[in-house]
Every structure is written in C-alpha cells, then in structure tokens.
Amino acid sequence: MTAATDMTSIPSSGPVVVRKTPKATFDLVFRNASFGAALLVLLLLAGIMVSMIIGGWPAFREFGLGFITSSVWDTQNDQYGAWPAIVGTLSTALIALIIGVPLSLGIAVYLTQLAPPWFKKPVATAVELLAAVPSIIYGMWGLFVFAPLFAQYVQIPLSSIVEGMPVLGTVLYSRSPSGLGIFTAGIILAFMIVPFIASITRDMLEQIPSVLRESAYGIGATTWEVVRHVLVPQAGVSIIGAIMLGLGRALGETMAVTFVVGNANRLSSSILDPGSTIASRIANEFNEAMGLQLSSLIALGCILFFVTFVVLVIARFLVSRVERY
C-alpha cells in the first residue's frame, strides 16, 4: 500500500505507545485504510476533471476556442458549438437566483424572527423536504402542471401586451406560447434552490449572538431594522456564499430543466422562448450520440465542470462549513 509511506507526514494525535501485538497490526491496517479512503475523495474530483478533459478533447481539438463561441449545433455536418447552451445555462441560473434569493431570505427571516416557536419546526421541515423531492418530479410538475398555467396566464397575455414594443417586444415575446422555455426553467430552478439557500442562511442568522439583536430591540428598533441593520451585516458574506451554493446547484441541475426548457438548439432573443442548457443538452442527446457529437457533449460537461467548480470554490470559502449535507 503506497499510503503507508505517506503516513509519516501526518501529525499523530499524541504520544501513543503501540506494542507489537496483533492489535497493532489492526491499528496500522485501519489507519492506512481510512487514510486511503480520505485520499480517494481527492482522487474522485481529480478523476472527474481529467475524464472530462480527455473525453472532450477531440471536440476541443477539432473546434478550438470556436467550440465555446459557435452557435451551430448540426449533427448532419458534425459541427458543434457550445454558445447557446452556455447562454441558456447562465440565463436559467440567473433567473433562478433573481426569484429564489428573495424567497430564501424571506423564509430564513420568517423562520428565525417571525414564526411562533411551535410552528418553526414543521415549517423548517417542509422547506427542507422541498430539497428532498427528486429533480425529475420537479420536471413532471413543471411540464404537466406549471407550464400550461404559465402559458395561459402569463405568456399569452404578456406577449399581446409587449408586442411591438422596442426592447420588451423581443425579450418578453413568445412566438409559441407552450409554457416551456428558459424562463419556466428558471422558475422551477428557483424553487429547487430555495431550500438550500434558506437553510444555510437560517443557520447563519441563528449563530449571531442574541445580545446583538436584543440590544437593537432595546433601543427601539423594529424587526425589519434589526434584520436590515444588525443581522444582515453580521451574516454578510456567508449569505453570499449560500447564494453561490444555490447558483452551483442551479447551473448543473439536469432533469427538471430537461423537462421544461423546451430543448431548442437555437438561441432565441426572448427569455420566454424554448432554449437549452448544457445539462439538458447532454441528457437529451447522450444516448444517441457517437463520435464527435459524443465528444462535444463531454466537452460541454467539461465547461460545466469548470464553471461550477469556480462557483463552488468561491461559495465554500465564503460559507466555510455551515452546510450540513
């Protein structure tokens, strides 16, 4: 076992005298096995990175940087570009944050400041159960329940209002009001990331010493003023970290988005039109893909890996170990 040699560099927990008995062998084996398991965690991330680069290499070699900027996705002529999927991924995630962040912060404030004590636990459990609902169920809800309602009550009226307007007429106009599209995907994603952001923010708010709150209340501040001027500045960057974690989830979410994003290969100027994200395109095309197309899909995965990696690294630095699972 190669791990054994590395063990010398690990500081031991104190002066422990080990006699050479059968138990000492067990001790050594156990120590090396657990060290090996811990190293495996490192290897997993490295493995994912390397396999994405190797798997996507033929596409990167063929198209170069143009792979990222090209909007063509043509399986007939074997030409592939990632741009529409990248834009789709970023815009769905952005819409999810715009809707999900206020929701999450409101929930965190409600849970820590407003809810009556007996009501806190059931509400907190319900919010956390939103995180337990599988992604594919959100997709079914979005496709069969939410999208038809959204088309009827939002897309169609909105399209008739904005039609002909200078900027809104393109951004908010939907040519085929099916309810499916970038914006719908963003809404579904918002509900999926809410439990994560809300529960981390709640934990942060609860960790703030109550002396601070009490002294603010003591000088006559209202609840809103306590939240705005005491709690939020105190929790500060860790709330941003929680939001970044939510962003990381939104970027890589697959099944729910695949159901509702509409899976259009072309980039539309309207956020109500169908589009695609990196994850939805991979999920859609992977099983039929071969050769360069397969490699292009893995290259898309490679781009997704590096984007989420950067987002999650920043998030973890900001939150520094509050998320529980």
Partner: protein, 296 residues
C-alpha cells in the same frame, strides 16, 4: 439611515424618532408580510407537488404495478416490478460502495487528519463534491466504466450513485464523530487500547445513531437520482440480467422515458412511479431527521 452595524453604538442616536415613526412601522409590517408570504409560497409549492402526485399517481397504482414488468411500446397494461427491483438493487449497490469509503474517510478526517493541511484540503474538496452536479458524475462513470467495457451496466450505475453518496456520508460521519466527547476516547486509550480499537469500539459506538442517519440521508439523496443513471445503468423494459450487465431497469429513468410518451398506460405508470419514489424518499428523510433529533 446612518446605522450600519450594531457594533457601532454611536450611529443609533441619529435616528430621527418622531418623524419617521409611521414609515418605519409600514416598512416593518411590509417586511413581515412579505417574509411570511414567501414562506407560505414555498410550502404551498411542496403541497402542490405532493397533491399532484397523489391525484395523478393513485389511479395508476394497482397490484399489477408491483407484479408486472414495464410494457413495451403500444402494448396494454404492464407494471413497474422490474423498475422497482432495479432501483432497489442500484441504490443499495450505491450505498454498499459508499458506506465503507465514506465512513473510513470521515473517520480519518475526525480522528487522524484533524486540523492538518491535508485534512482541510480533503474537507474542502469533499464539500465541493457534495454540491457537484450529478450529471458530471454520470459522465465520469461513463468515461471510466461504460466506454471501456463497451456497454451500460448496473455496476456502473451503482458506482455512479455511490460516488454521489460518498461526500454525504463523509460529512455526516465526521460531524457526528466530532460530537463524541474527547474524554471518552482518552478513557479508551488509558485502558491500553490502540487508536483503531478506540475508534471502532468506543467512538463509532457512541456516534452510531448519527452515522446511520448520514447513511439514510445519502440513501434518500441517491434514490431519486436520474441524470447519472442515463449514462450508466440506462434502462430496460424487461427483467435485467442477474449479472447486472446491460441495461438495468430503474424507476427514475423509466419515469423519464414514460412521462412524455404517447401511450396512456406509460403515462399512468410514470405517475404511479413518481408517487412511489417521492413518498419513499420523503418518508426516508423524515425518519432520518427524527433519528438526528432523537440522538442529540
């Protein structure tokens, strides 16, 4: 308003009390109303989804759902028996892969690595893996296990689910071991037991409930995963081979394939499957949470 932090007591004196009282009260009420409204909106969505599953799923549930295999295109009837069994096999395979690795790695972090640089790095990477998109883990397993062996398999599916479960188990194991009081370990060492014996027969035993909770949470996390299975175990409309080579039927991918299919019995089965899988996962997570609450 000039007050920025509570740590600055000087600023508070500048609030013009009498003049803004009405506005402050309105702002306060508006915020309370919005925060409460947002909370109930989120809870409403949860019950909306559950209600939808109950309404559409119960009609599809019948004894045949649990005894017959998934129907082919255009054929009548059918059930989800192979998908349910396949899901059990894949999920438990995943947990079987993840539990020893996750528990040992978490133990190393809590008992050996502690605050060392390497331990901090592993902790950091583990936290990133915890939130890494599951689709990337599916692609990774495709590249290392499906492509080289030229075929989808239940083993690849189990490994993919296991990789998703590992960081959850590492994290909870470490957290739970850290809750075990130091004197307990010292007492073990004082009896002459080497560290490994102290860990396995004292620390693990003290943290057992919490560690089991971590494994249950990991189980709940992977039971509904769909994306990684598309690239690894795929699906199968028949009973899968006992060697798990070739596609292994499973609930999530079956739901994915059946939900928007043009056959009515497929759609029925997709809803029934969704109900089964969601209720199992929700019950599992509630049980796991109860265990944590009881263990503390």
């Amino acid at each position: 308003m000039t007050m920025t932090t509570a740590a600055n007591p000087q600023a508070e004196a500048h609030i013009p009390w009498g003049r803004v009282r009405q506005g402050r009260r309105t702002a306060d009420r508006a915020m309370k109303l919005i925060a409460t409204g947002f909370t109930f909106a989120a809870i409403f969505v949860l019950f909306w989804i559950l209600g939808m599953l109950l309404v559409k799923g119960i009609g599809g549930l019948s004894p045949a759902t649990f005894t017959q295999v998934t129907p082919g295109p255009g054929s009548e009837g059918g059930g989800l028996a192979n998908a349910i069994v396949g899901s059990f096999v894949l999920t438990f395979l995943g947990i079987a892969v993840a539990t020893p690795i996750g528990v040992l790695a978490g133990t190393w972090l809590a008992e050996y690595g502690k605050k060392s640089k390497l331990a901090n790095l592993i902790r950091f990477i583990n936290d990133i893996l915890l939130s890494a998109p599951s689709i990337l883990i599916g692609l990774f397993v495709y590249v290392i296990l499906v492509e080289p062996f030229r075929g989808y398999s239940g083993w690849a599916g189990g490994v993919a689910l296991g990789i998703i479960a590992i960081p959850v188990i590492v994290r909870t194991t470490e957290d739970m071991l850290n809750l075990v009081p130091g004197p307990l370990r010292e007492a073990g060492s004082a009896l002459g037991a080497p560290p490994a014996v102290v860990i396995t027969s004292v620390t693990w035993r003290a943290a057992k409930a919490g560690m089991v909770t971590g494994i249950l949470l990991a189980l709940a996390r992977i039971a509904g995963e769909t994306a990684p299975l598309i690239f690894t175990a795929l699906n199968n409309n028949f009973w899968f081979s006992p060697t798990l080579v070739g596609g292994v039927s499973n609930l999530p991918v079956t739901i994915y394939q059946f939900a928007s299919a043009p056959y009515e019995n497929w759609q029925q089965l997709a809803w029934a499957g969704s109900l089964i899988i969601t209720l199992s996962i929700l019950i599992l997570s509630i049980v796991a949470r109860r265990l944590v609450a009881g263990g503390k």
